[in-house]
Amino acid sequence: MNAPAKAKSKQSSDAMNTPGEAPVSEAPATAQAPVKMRASGVNFHYGSFRALYDISLDFPANKVTALIGPSGCGKSTFLRSLNRINETLRGTRIDGEITLDGEDVLKMDVTSLRRRVGMVFQRPNPFPKSIFENVAYGVRVNGLASRSELPEIVEKSLRRAALWDEVRDKLNESAHALSGGQQQRLCIARGLAVNPEVLLLDEPCSALDPIATAKIEDLLVAIKDQCTIVIVTHNMQQAARVADNTGFFLLGRLIEHDRTDVIFKNPAKRETEDYITGRFG
């Protein structure tokens, strides 16, 4: 149990680096840093099925927030509402308010929202292009840099995703030739290349072996000084290792959210304790 200790020390040093603003939420966990994203009263429907009930949650800047809960509890739906990728599904409806730096996400231009709020998916989904083109894609479609700046951005992003040393000699080979763990880190590099302010991760390690998982967890802790991270995970040890704050979802409701150590050691609600101790789920 080395990893949690490591994550914890990182967390406390971060807390010192970021002087807290006035508390903006009822949750004690969020008082330590300014709020980057905030959801208030979010409801979500797939057709006639209601997936989220009145979710209110703050994401403090430069922190890792984990969303945990059993399958079908709405944590992924909530995550996918934050960059509005769910609205590409037919028959979905959202109400409530989500803000990014105080701006209304639901009214924002969707392409600029998604440039600022990146996403990594459950299964690695590299494009059928070369490794280089995968990382350069977001920069290209957003017109963020000139052609001559691309190699530098690609290298920097791959380094941040701890993949550079493994792929530096084969940037022009197909991304499909990489292993699953490498593909997932490539997808993270692809997301980081556009310098997102928030990075959403939807069970990013569920298709990976423990070694690849450990690499990605280290990576998340390393990049959180540059962006705010929200991670959905089925793996409670993972939440304990990487997350500063944790929210517990059950049947479409946010049961409670707090600092990760509080959630795991001293949860306020019975349901949370039952889930964490493995009594169900």
Binding site: R114, M119, F127, K129, V141, G191
Partner: protein, 284 residues
């Protein structure tokens, strides 16, 4: 061994034999046709066939160079019109047409257009192109064939685009790409081998059609201007030569049939190769 068991075992064997025989008949048909064509046509396929014009009736020898080029022109016109329209229709159906009456109508119309007898397509093209232009032409023949090609291309394009996983689209959208950019830069490239295969098979399918050419490109014993003169084609040549009373022309018809089938087979095999290579690459 009860009677019931014996009955089940016998039925099993009977059905296995029946399906096996039918499968054998299906496959052997191709080989019989191929063997017959080679047997009758191979002796007449020579260099002259590819380089010379047809000889006047009664004279032996000559070739079908004009029909080979004419077929290429007609199919080329058809592809020039049919491939882009069919492709973009397929993109629309796959990317925007999951529901909605308009897409349903288009999809239904594609099926109907696919089912229109080819000779009816020929009559239509004749009225729309041949009559106003005052002449049969390869252009009119190409137009008729393009009408057959549009639904084929649209269907196959739609099918292969739908097979592109949703997560790939979301990956692109999540980076701030617009829907069109996502389709053009990620979805279509991911399906490009399948789409290419569909187009090649569509071209192979229409290049053997004779009926739509009856009233559109007609035939020609000489070289012609594809834009305003009747133009020779391999299927039409087979039609006229096979119906003639001359032995030499019959041999020419067999030869034309062999060449046409050879081209179609090559296209099919090429398409298959493109597709399988694509699949194995995707699996890594």
């Amino acid at each position: 061994m009860t009677a019931r068991n014996l009955y089940r075992k016998t039925l099993n064997n009977v059905m296995l034999t029946l399906t096996g025989v039918c499968a054998f008949v299906t496959v052997s048909t191709l080989f019989v046709v191929l063997a017959y064509l080679v047997y009758n046509g191979a002796t007449s396929v020579n260099l002259d066939f590819f380089t010379k014009l047809p000889k006047p009736t009664g004279e032996a020898g000559g070739g079908m160079a004009n029909a080979i080029v004419g077929s290429a022109e007609i199919v080329g016109f058809a592809a020039l019109v049919g491939v882009p329209i069919g492709f973009f229709t397929g993109v629309y159906l796959s990317e925007w047409g999951a529901d909605g009456t308009f897409a349903f109508v288009i999809r239904y119309m594609c099926d109907l257009l696919n089912g229109v007898p080819s000779i009816v397509v020929g009559i239509f093209a004749s009225i729309v192109i041949v009559k106003p232009m005052g002449s049969f032409s390869a252009l009119a023949g190409g137009f008729a064939l393009s009408l057959m090609m549009i639904p084929i291309t649209a269907k196959s394009t739609e099918q292969f685009l739908l097979e592109v996983p949703r997560t790939l689209r979301e990956g692109s959208l999540a980076l701030g790409a617009s829907k069109w950019r996502t389709i053009a830069s990620v979805v279509v490239p991911a399906a490009r081998r399948g789409i290419m295969t569909g187009i090649i098979l569509g071209i192979a399918r229409i290049s053997g059609e004779a009926a739509p050419l009856l009233f559109t490109s007609l035939n020609n014993e000489y070289w012609s201007n594809p834009f305003k003169e009747p133009t020779a084609s391999l299927p039409y040549m087979i039609y006229t030569r096979a119906l003639s009373p001359y032995d030499d022309w019959h041999r020419q018809a067999w030869a034309a049939g062999l060449v046409l089938l050879g081209l179609v087979l090559i296209a099919n095999i090429a398409a298959r190769l493109i597709l399988t290579r694509g699949n194995s690459a995707a699996r890594g």
